[in-house]
């Protein structure tokens, strides 16, 4: 990169800065062995518990010919990645409580980098978790029915949704007084999204009033799309629904998070 010569464009600055902050956040993740361990442990438990504890009971409400593990894995992909965005909120809240953000604010760097570096690191971590989950699923008997292309499309869609969602959690982190409260504040948002969805079982088994929420929320659209792309079946409606939600969330929450961050910057 010839950035030292001449004046880099604002876009180049924003991208390089975002990459640097992403690297810095990933270092914090990679360097703490516990965080990798727990990042892998939680989805492992999801898969094992739901598959072996609920699997027998739930498989009766599944479409014929679909095994519960194949049905479950797309749900766990999306749910795990959604829960992973909590780390964005915690990390940002913790950063605000140390002096490091002060340093970033007085440096001649892109204002957006602190936030895009957070969501960027989230994206990388999500990719790792997806890889781990896929390997685990395969070991247990999960199979992709629609080939590599379908799987890649499903991965891309999940990452897109997670990226959008992490901007919501950015805002939570910026509003939270501490890392601990960021954690607590995230749960009321993520819990209903993750569990009142088609992630673990068909929503037709839920009471009618709950189905209304479950059928229209972004996790259900994304899970349904991922399921169709991996297992087969009509995918278009769910894919469009998921993308529309992701776009909508980004359009609303990215500016809100940036606004909140700027406001914090000028106390």
């Amino acid at each position: 990169m010839s950035v030292a010569i001449g004046v880099p464009t604002p876009r180049a600055v924003a991208l390089t800065n975002a990459a640097t902050i992403t690297w810095r956040n990933l270092m914090g993740f990679v360097r703490v062995p516990q965080s990798i361990f727990f990042a892998s442990l939680q989805p492992t438990m999801f898969v094992l518990i739901f598959n072996y504890v609920f699997g027998g009971a739930i498989s009766r409400s599944l479409p014929p010919g679909v095994g519960y593990l194949d049905y479950l894995m797309p749900g766990v992909f999306v749910m795990t990645l959604a829960f992973g965005t909590i780390l964005t909120a915690i990390g940002l809240a913790e950063d605000l409580n140390t002096g490091i953000i002060e340093r970033f604010r007085t440096l001649p760097m892109a204002r957006s980098a602190v936030l895009s570096g957070r969501t960027g690191a989230d994206l990388c971590r999500s990719l790792y978790v997806l890889g781990w989950l896929t390997a685990l699923g395969y070991a247990l008997g999960f199979r992709v029915h629609q080939g590599l292309l379908g799987f890649l499309a499903a991965t891309l869609l999940t990452l897109t949704f997670t990226f959008a969602l992490s901007w919501v959690l950015c805002l939570v982190g910026l509003l939270a007084p501490s890392g601990e409260s960021a954690n607590l504040m995230s749960f009321p948002i993520l819990f209903p999204l993750a569990f009142v969805s088609s992630g673990l079982l068909p929503i037709s088994t839920m009471p009618g009033w709950l189905q209304v929420f479950a059928a229209h929320q972004p996790v259900t659209y994304t899970v349904n799309a991922v399921r169709a792309l991996i297992l087969g079946g009509p995918a278009a409606t769910a894919v469009i629904g998921s993308l529309a939600w992701s776009a909508g969330i980004l359009v609303v929450f990215a500016p809100l998070a940036i606004w909140r961050y700027r406001r914090a910057a000028f106390g």
Binding site: M1, V3, A4, P8, V13, T16, N17, T20, I21, W23, R24, M27, G28, R31, V32, T98, G99, I100, I101, E102, R103, F104, R105, T106, L107, P108, M109, A113, A265, F266, G267
Partner: protein
């Protein structure tokens, strides 16, 4: 300084030339690194800054001296673009810090009271990160980090996680991080607050090295000895206003070189001691304590004790110490540092 007239005075003066000089495009003395005029900042009902003027020439060190809540940090946050003032002008390196903060940032380096480093990275990585954020190439950032680690004697701890550092080393790394992008101007907000005496001396040596290299520094401090040691000019703040300014020597002129601190069994006896000593000295009573600024050392202390003996008064303890911020306040305002005194006392315990 002729430019430090308040806005009100200039408006009423009103000649055509002065009006032109007050237009936004007006030029400040190019030899000045920092120009602040009439800075005002309120937080709700609290007025943190109430019309502060500063003029700092390039290559000089200015210390803002004052207790907690006097407006030091607010001033430094305005000048480093972290805060927008409610009124007044802040010009840093010839650029308006309020109107063009993005153009000021490349020119300034800031190190604060709370070391702004990433505990999850090593010292070296912290410096490389700052270099990369300032758009140095990878190799340039690495070279700059090496250079600063050597300059600040941090090589031995460079590859340890910075969360394992002692307070003093963390501050040293923080100062180094403020220098990565070669800023023209440095801002240090209470650089040694909360450090043990050894670390303070160590950090002073680092800052003196920068001063010797011709750096322009604005630092805030609660310690008179720190201002005395590092600064060319000292500005004393109290409740958001400047109550005194001058060289450290001028500031200390009225204080004497030391303070004799006597304690008595009770306040009545202390009051009698004040009365007895008032002829030749300027004693100040503080509960059962009496403090007397002195210029000569042993000689004046002996004469104080002789006077007390002649009045049949014997102190329960006797101590000599260097003048503190509190003594400056007593001298300037007739009262002790409010609020802050309690913090400092608590911190000492």
């Amino acid at each position: 300084m002729s430019r430090s007239v308040s806005a009100g005075v200039t408006t009423t003066a009103g000649s055509a030339g002065e009006l032109a000089a007050r237009s936004p495009a007006r030029r400040d003395d190019p030899g000045l690194a920092i120009v602040a005029e009439g800075l005002v900042k309120r937080f709700g009902k609290v007025t943190a800054l109430d019309g502060v003027d500063l003029h700092v020439p390039y290559g000089s060190v200015l210390a803002l001296l004052g207790p907690n809540g006097s407006g030091k940090t607010t001033t430094i946050r305005i000048l480093t673009t972290l805060l927008v003032p409610d009124a007044g002008r802040a010009v840093v390196a010839g650029i308006d810090a309020v109107k063009a903060p993005a153009r000021v940032r490349p020119l300034i380096g800031m190190a604060g009271q709370y070391a702004a480093i990433d505990p999850k990275l090593t010292g070296r990585e912290n410096l490389i990160m700052v270099g990369r954020l300032a758009m140095l190439t990878r190799s340039a950032a690495r070279q700059r980090a090496d250079h600063l680690l050597t300059q600040f004697h941090l090589q031995d701890v460079a590859d340890r996680f910075s969360r394992t550092y002692s307070g003093g080393i963390r501050r040293r790394l923080d100062l180094a991080a403020a220098l990565v992008h070669r800023p023209k101007l440095l801002f240090f907000d209470e650089p040694t607050t909360g450090l043990d005496p050894g670390s303070r001396r160590d950090l002073w040596a680092v800052m003196e090295q920068l001063v010797a290299g011709g750096a322009t520094i604005l630092l805030t401090t609660q310690y008179l000895d720190e201002a005395d040691r590092l600064a060319d000019q000292v500005v004393v703040l109290d409740h958001g206003k400047i109550i005194a300014q001058g060289t450290p020597a001028q500031l200390k002129a009225g204080l004497g070189s030391s303070v004799v601190d006597l304690s008595f069994p009770d306040e009545t006896i202390a009051a009698r001691a004040v009365h007895a000593l008032a002829g030749a000295n300027r004693p100040a009573q503080r509960g059962d304590h009496v403090e007397i600024p002195v210029t000569g050392n042993t000689e004046s202390a002996m004469s104080i004790l002789r006077t007390l003996q002649a009045h049949d008064l014997s102190p329960t303890s006797f101590a000599m110490r260097e003048p503190s911020l509190d003594d400056v306040f007593l001298e300037l305002t007739g009262h002790h540092t409010t609020e802050a005194t309690d913090h400092q006392e608590v911190a000492k315990r």
